[in-house]
Amino acid sequence: MSEVAQGRAAEELPGLDRQNGATLGRILGRGRVGHAEEGPDGKMHATVRILEDQLVYDPGILVMPHEGTLELELINDDTNTHCAVLPNNGNPQFIWLVNSARGTATLTLDGPGYYWYGSRTGNDEGRGLTGAILVQGDAPPEARLDRPPQPRP
């Protein structure tokens, strides 16, 4: 898991990255970036924590190096009850996370792209408890267009 700079926004607007600071909650899509690690079973593994009094998932952006199955550990280090509704092919996965709880989820995503997830308790989502899972990679060769490589932005 790696720390990333919070960027100029927090420098220009102190209190942006904490609860009841610059605004009421915490703007989505910020926080740290974490990377899932691939195990010998071919599945990817990662841990996400809910930090005390911050109403964020940490890391806020979890990166899967490619499509596949993610074994996710979820830990609620907050002193309030939350949950997670997670993206998954077949059916969204739901886990209830009381204070100081630890649970797991198995997610299958066929990316590439990114997927939001969140806690649907109260307005947890609006306060900041909305995380992203980012799947890297490309469509398989047989699905791509028969044409020369194209310029990208």
Binding site: P92, F94, S100, A105, T108, A139, A143, L145, P148
Partner: protein
């Protein structure tokens, strides 16, 4: 001090926190190609996207008819809504046609949802949710046009360009194939079509400079059978209609994002193809740009193009021709009817795709002239950089993808008509993969618009009657053996019209606008009319004057009161 954590266990399927049984009766086991071929012989079912391979969207059921339709009332309502953040949040809506098999309805929604529903009660039997990336490229909303059912499976295309097969009893995934490249701006919204031992789909992505294609997969295993590109490579037939020294063909468009129709005797699929890319800047793609904006007849076994007719050569108005080709026989001729975005009704000889007659079906057409054989003379088009040009019809067309119907009983065609113009200002830009590639700034008119359900005689192309609306009609039409035509309005009303006269006989306010495809079925002798509702999708294109209307996402079934 180490925290003593409570064990929260393992996450569960969200559906386990509902009363949905995740089990449907095994009705789809017996759905074979032979049954779909004869779909109209079992009118209690709606077995395939258009009701039958011919695309007529006609139900022979006649329990609900002109005499009693005033008693029609809701039998049930199905609602799903949405949870959390998802792609195209502001644009999600129902755009599907439900499939009904022996009392079970199979229907897809926005954002990867598929449901099996008890068609008698509206109760959910199972649900499937495909996880859709938030950042997938979607030109025209988070929508899906429906599923196909055969041999115990439900087939659906996903917004991130997969074709998947589900177990029709449980909703569990059986196989999954990727058939598009989301990094190239491709997606998928088409309702699959089962033909023989295959499931047929097509690509979306015509606003992102992709190269359109149709694909066939073995329905049992998902193994690819063929891919048919609708823009030829250099040296292939039709390539002479693209610049020989450029890259335009690589980004040419011609996507097949609407379900084809099928003639089993001729063994031909009839695809409509989408706009060329960039939509409005023809200067970077001189020539007719085959097979964009065309009706294309494809051999279903080989995936090879056998014949075509191009409705709008060198299109610079965004006049996709993806909408249906309705197959019917009349006076000994094998015909196909096509209402094009460009405002003209084409009656083709479907054995060779030669036009038999061409006639306008909307009042205001000024982009060009089309003669009785389909020859085009462009008149108004955006060809100067930065110069705004207004034209009718606008880029949503005089009829959008939503479908017309044909009644073999009245021998009339019924079309939802949109009479609205737009202004396009050419703005050349470089192509970059995954980015919108229009070549213009476009604004559809907010005022001075109209719409109708219009009936046409395919023998002459002339209008028989018109039910007028003060805004465009943007939903598919259903014709029935009860001499009724059903059509929904953008403002939420669902209407039954007299198929002979166009008189409004019944109306129900569904609470949100219509942009889907109704169907009809019966259970134990009771006829139902089902219509998915919910305003959204590409509203800024087909009716920006209703951009502020509420979304909704309900599926209604109507029936006569039980005795």
């Amino acid at each position: 001090m180490a925290t003593d954590y409570v064990d929260a266990g393992h996450a569960v399927d969200a559906v386990s926190l509902t009363k949905t049984p995740q089990k449907a009766p095994p009705v789809a086991q017996g759905v074979t190609y032979e049954r779909i071929l004869k779909a109209r012989e079992e009118p209690h079912n709606w077995l395939t996207y258009y009701g039958a391979y011919d695309g007529q969207r006609y139900s022979p059921l006649d329990q609900i008819n002109r005499q009693n339709v005033r008693k029609l009332a809701p039998a049930w309502v199905f609602q799903a809504g949405s949870t959390g953040l998802h792609a195209g949040k502001s644009t999600y809506s129902f755009e599907a046609s439900p499939i009904v098999v022996d009392g079970v309805m199979f229907v897809s929604g926005w954002d990867g949802w598929v449901w099996a529903i008890d068609a008698r009660t509206g109760s959910e039997l199972w649900q499937y949710k495909h996880a859709i990336p938030y950042d997938v490229s979607l030109c025209c909303g988070n929508v899906n046009r429906g599923v196909a059912v055969a041999d115990g499976k439900v087939f659906v295309a996903t917004l991130n360009a997969h074709i998947i097969a589900l177990d029709a009893e449980t909703g569990k995934k059986v196989w999954d194939q990727t058939y598009g490249d989301v990094r190239a701006g491709e997606s998928a919204t088409v309702a699959p079509l089962v033909v023989k031992d295959m499931v047929i789909v097509g690509s979306s992505g015509g606003e992102f400079g992709s190269r359109g294609h149709a694909d066939a997969f073995k329905r049992e295993t998902g193994e690819r059978v063929w891919r048919c590109y609708m823009v030829p490579k250099p040296g292939e037939p039709g390539s002479e209609t693209w610049p020989s020294d450029g890259e335009a063909w690589q980004r040419g468009g011609a996507n097949c994002w609407v379900t084809s129709t099928f003639d089993p005797e001729l063994n031909l699929l009839y695809f409509g193809t989408g706009n060329p890319c960039p939509d409005f800047d023809g200067g970077v793609r001189e020539g007719d740009n085959l097979f964009t904006d065309s009706g294309v007849a494809v051999d279903v076994d080989s995936g090879e193009i056998r014949a075509h007719f191009q409705y709008t050569p060198h299109d610079v108005w965004d006049y996709d021709s993806t909408m249906e080709h309705i197959l019917f026989d009349l006076d000994g001729q094998k015909l196909a009817a096509h209402f094009d975005k460009n405002g003209f009704l084409y009656i083709l000889d479907r054995t060779n795709m030669e036009p038999v007659r061409v006639a306008p079906f909307v009042d205001r057409i000024d982009w060009g002239e089309v003669d009785e054989k389909g020859n085009v003379t462009p008149l108004v088009f955006p060809d100067k950089e930065g110069d705004p040009v207004h034209f009718w019809p606008g880029p949503a067309g005089a009829k959008e993808w939503t479908h017309a119907a044909y009644s073999p009983k009245t021998e009339l065609l019924y079309a939802p008509v949109q009479d609205v113009g737009a202004t396009a200002t050419r703005r050349r830009r470089d192509f970059k993969e995954g980015m919108p590639y229009w070549g213009a700034g476009v604004a559809v008119d907010l005022e001075d618009m109209a719409g109708s359900i219009s009936a046409f005689d395919p023998r002459t192309g002339s209008e028989r009657w018109r039910w007028r609306n003060d805004i465009p009609m943007c939903a598919s039409v259903l014709a029935t053996g009860g001499d009724l035509v059903f059509a929904g309005e953008p403002t939420g009303e669902f209407n039954a019209l007299d198929a002979e006269s166009g008189e409004l006989l019944w109306q129900f306010q569904c609470g949100s606008g219509h942009h889907s495809s109704p169907c009809s079925y019966s259970i134990d002798g009771r006829q139902y009319i089902a219509v998915p509702t919910g305003w959204g999708a590409w509203t800024e294109g087909f009716l920006p004057g209703m951009l502020g209307a509420g979304q909704g996402s309900a599926l209604f079934a109507f029936a006569l009161p039980e005795e």
